[in-house]
Chain length 409, copies 2
Amino acid sequence: MSIGSGTVGLRTVREANLGVVLRTVRESAPCSRAAVAAATGLNKTTVSSLVADLMARGLIRETGETAQNGVGRPGVLLALDDSSVAALGLEVNVDYLSVVAVDLVQRELTSRHMPFDARAAGPDESARHIVAALREVMADPSVRGRTVVGAGIAVPGLVDAPTGTVRRAPNLGWSDFPLGARTDVLGFPVRVDNDANLGAIAEYRVGSFAGTPDLVYVTGEVGIGAGVLTGGSLLRGAGGFAGELGHLTLGPDGPECSCGRRGCLEASAGIGAILRDAVPDLAPERPLPGADVAALVDATVGRAAAGNGTAVSALERAGTRLGQGLAALVNLVDPGLVLLGGYFVPMGPWLLPSCRTALASGVFAPNTGGCRVEPSSLGLSAAARGGAAGVIHALDSGALPLPEAVDAG
Amino acid sequence: MSIGSGTVGLRTVREANLGVVLRTVRESAPCSRAAVAAATGLNKTTVSSLVADLMARGLIRETGETAQNGVGRPGVLLALDDSSVAALGLEVNVDYLSVVAVDLVQRELTSRHMPFDARAAGPDESARHIVAALREVMADPSVRGRTVVGAGIAVPGLVDAPTGTVRRAPNLGWSDFPLGARTDVLGFPVRVDNDANLGAIAEYRVGSFAGTPDLVYVTGEVGIGAGVLTGGSLLRGAGGFAGELGHLTLGPDGPECSCGRRGCLEASAGIGAILRDAVPDLAPERPLPGADVAALVDATVGRAAAGNGTAVSALERAGTRLGQGLAALVNLVDPGLVLLGGYFVPMGPWLLPSCRTALASGVFAPNTGGCRVEPSSLGLSAAARGGAAGVIHALDSGALPLPEAVDAG
């Protein structure tokens, strides 16, 4: 039976069922077809057909072992096939590209982090670099030979996810750029999303607090954004623009922001602002195109660790501002957990205490509403990792982009 | 067959199916049992049994008409029974109690609005007043004889909805008060929730913008709170404390707030603050216990309409502050629609222009992210209306608190 031969309705049901079986094997492997049938309520013939399909697509495999479960023939055990497919994730940010490939069990196959001046390159040249970086990862020995099932690309700005258009990314200098369309040459599905949203997905799927349904991931780059998960789902908002934490106005007299307004949180607590305050002799006045942000962050952390007063007090001030911004977020959204990502991670020892103090004093609910603030465990690859994790998650939901197979049933 | 005789699992499935049938009749009435079976995928015998149960509970009725649908016997048409049950809603706020009763089709049966000084009364005496007010509505000729299926009570503060405990309501002076338990004497289920949450539910179910899945309802009382709906569901947050818009800090130098901090939005844009600025010769210095807030609001609106500069500029300033607070909300949550409720409605003509201007200048997404700000059509009864609407909605979800009936099947 060809899978594509049914009606649209049947096709959709079958896709959903493929996802159900894949998810069941992910959760229960190793498990027999009979166990899958019992867990899902699908009948055994249907399960056998779906399993054959998923095997043909390289998503599940027989382990070679059997299990006796009650009477009847012993069941051949199934597991996820971690050798056949790969999902890619990429983040483009002000000063770097980060790329990662993972297998079906979300294990990292390879990752790269490369300095890249996206603002100087401009959107067209950046899109070419992005395509080249993804192809380079596909050629890596750990990925070559696998079927790439899709890629997720993270951009620091407002993204219209359904069309893959970057609406407004002031720190990159991009607006209304159809990045998704520029990646059509790759030949597999590419989703473009906001970097903070993908960071939150990464935390939920593979971070140290994986499985926490209400959490916020905060990007710590030149820009500050928040990816908000409520009940395990991304809070996107009516127009897909939720989570613009960096552009909360803390006061109209604050410094000028890349967005053209004054007093935005990221203009005083984004990495560019921190570096200018913490290592004024090294950091350029404003903004930071072409600067080696990673090296400046290293210098800041080094000086703070050595007790340099300028660096320490700059980090503490930024932590206070960040806590004030997070207080607004916690008052409005009440997440149980806020994870600070990106360059905030190495700066955490000096940022976090003042951040937590300001948060506690700004939150109306008793005891900060129970909300914790912790550093992310995913570092600068969080958003790329979330891009790849989202592709794998989409498979579990039955969105199978692989060529349709003819099953044996 | 007695409904209570099955296992817990079967009981739950039956309850869910009762809700499905009730919802289907709500959406498609008048409709036959066969049409319900076709729409739900349930078999006709099951539908007949569920319909008998719902009729025994006074939730659906036969209209007395029939419809020929294909071959076979003509089907007797069903509709919601709008004569047998009632749901109640009540809001307790700083200066009033508002009570409403609705029927199964969400039509208002009766409503009352009475001045009440909850702060002076204290929580215990207030609870007695609440019970008395609900009993008074039950005795109204439009309600008497109906089965009351439940009540929803709105409180301006942090509420632990599952237990019905008011955690913190500074404008009432209550903390950790088990209001839900105090209403057990009523003999029907009572849910206690935050006033803004219930206002948002009212807007979604019966307001002028009903059906808008992403909206925020803002209470305009002495306190300011936000009820946030995303995708048609309340955003409650990890601890149930989301939406504390009134306690966003606009600046550390702002006026002192009832919560003990400085610079909260409601300390400069809540109704108490507006009245002190707008009609300083009439309004008490601070706070407003015992003041006739409604009369002061009338005076403010009267003077503003007459062009009184003090009143007009006080309202414009409050509108600007409100817009600044809403900008934080829109940047973080991106609702498509914000509805200003309570006393903000009569003040709207002078508040709204400066509010919209401040919002537009504070939102990062282009064109305010497409977000509109409009006055609520539900006035001071919004939260009470939402309390009742929530009870009716719970019926549609299969939470049927009526005594179990023995069906004829």
